[in-house]
Structures are given as C-alpha cells and as structure tokens.
Amino acid sequence: MEILNVKVEKDTIEKLERLIKKKAYKNKSEAVRKMLEEHFEEHPELFGHDELQGILREADYMSDQQFEKLAARVFKGAKTAAQLVAQGRDR
C-alpha cells in the first residue's frame, strides 16, 4: 500500500475519531481508505469518460471484417431484425 498525506478540517478528524471509538473502523487510515473505496464504487460515472475513451480506441482497432464476422454471430437467430427492434418497442 502507498501512503497518502491529506489535509482535512479539524471537524472531520473529530468525526473520524468518533467512528473509531464506536469501533466502526480500526483506525483513521482504515476509515479513510474504506470511505474512498466505497465512494469510487458508488460513483462509477466519475471514471466513465476514461472508460469511454478506451472503448472508442478499441472499437477503432477492430477491422470492418472482424466486426462483420462478430456481428453475423451476435445477430444470428430465429427473430428477424424487425422483431428484435420491436421487442425494444414493447411488442
């Protein structure tokens, strides 16, 4: 693990200490670490733009021939294109 030095308000330190006294966390380090992890997990949209850029790049690397081959496999099935779209139109 890496060390992160963070300046916070006195009030924030006091709140953290209250949580440690209540045994919610072992220490301040664990409290901050878990809160940050929970926040990242609850807000994936914070990283959405980075992910989208990566996906756009990968989509560019896929050749048209590779895409056609994959699309033929993905879209294959008994339902027609019109029926597949109509499913999304609640029919």
């Binding site: 989509a59 109509a86 999304g88």
Partner: protein, 175 residues
C-alpha cells in the same frame, strides 16, 4: 429509414439482409441519402448490447461495450442524417399545463390519429418532421410488419409511402 433496416444489413440471416445490404452500400458511397430519427441510435445500441450479451454471455463486459460502440460507428459510417426535433412546446389539456419536448408533443398528436405504441409514434413523428423539412425524401423504409400493415394511414400522415426494404430496392432500381 427505420432502425430495423440497419440491423437487417448486419444480420446475415435476416429476410431483408440482401436488400438492406444494398441500401447500406449505396449510402456508404453517397449514391443515395437517408434520414432517421435520433431514436435509431438508441435502438441500435440497445439491440447490439442485448444480443451480444445473449450470444457471448457476460464473461467479458468490456468486449460487449466495444461491440456496441463499433456498431454505432458502423452506422455513423453510412452518412445518414439524424432527425432531431429540438426544442420544447407548451402543452395544455385541462389542468395539465407544461412544456414538453417537441417530439413528445407531436407523438401525442399522432397517438390521437393512430393506435401506434410509444416508440413507433416517435419514429413516425420524426419521419413527418423530416418530410416537412426535406421534400426530397421519397419513402419511409421499414421491415416492421405492423407498420407496413398500417402503411396507407401512415403514408397519409407523413406524406410519403411506407415501403419494405424489398419494395424500396425495386422502386429505386438498386442492384
């Protein structure tokens, strides 16, 4: 152009695959022009995502996302114009007084004239709007049997014939 035409072009076992493929090829070369609702982007993304999950499972979610984006990029490569009914209009019925997106307002008016479902109404509203702004649009092309069954009524509403991809290809002489 309805969403299903673009899916037909990618679906090699679709009854309209050959015709939709011809349409896509002519669009790519800029030999014909087409317009479609912005709703088509959403529907294409949704179908691609759902079917990838069904065909390949959920083992690699990243590949599914890449497939959805590549499908949209392929659609964008056809050079189609996307019809967007921008802006809001006031809507007032009884005690209901609100502003709403133009496409909703037009779709509500169409719901009084037809028995179409919500997303079909939005496509037809976009088609009527497109025709009013571009008199050169010759037809609404769809493989949807329900829309084609109502083609006489929908043609009157939009001001252009409703054709299947096969009828369109024959009509345009696309070989």
């Amino acid at each position: 152009m309805d969403t299903n035409v673009f899916i037909s072009a990618l679906k090699s076992d679709d009854p309209y695959h050959a015709e939709a493929g011809r349409v896509a090829s002519r669009l790519r070369k800029g030999e014909i022009q087409a317009e479609t609702s912005t709703l088509t982007l959403l529907e294409v993304a949704s179908v691609a995502s759902r079917l990838y999950h069904r065909a390949e499972g959920s083992k690699d979610d990243h590949k599914r996302k890449t497939f959805v984006v590549k499908t949209l990029k392929t659609l964008a490569g056809l050079g189609i114009r996307f019809v967007h009914m921008s802006g809001d209009t006031p809507f007032a019925v009884g005690n209901i007084k609100t502003d709403m997106p133009n496409v909703f307002n037009e779709s509500i008016l169409l719901s009084i004239q037809t028995t179409l479902r919500t997303l079909d109404l939005m496509h037809v509203a976009a088609a009527r709007h497109a025709k009013q702004n571009n008199r050169e649009l010759g037809a609404f092309v769809t493989g949807d049997t329900e829309l084609l069954r109502m083609k006489a009524q929908l043609s009157r509403i939009t001001g252009m014939p409703f054709l299947s991809p096969r009828e369109y290809v024959i009509d345009m002489g696309l070989k």
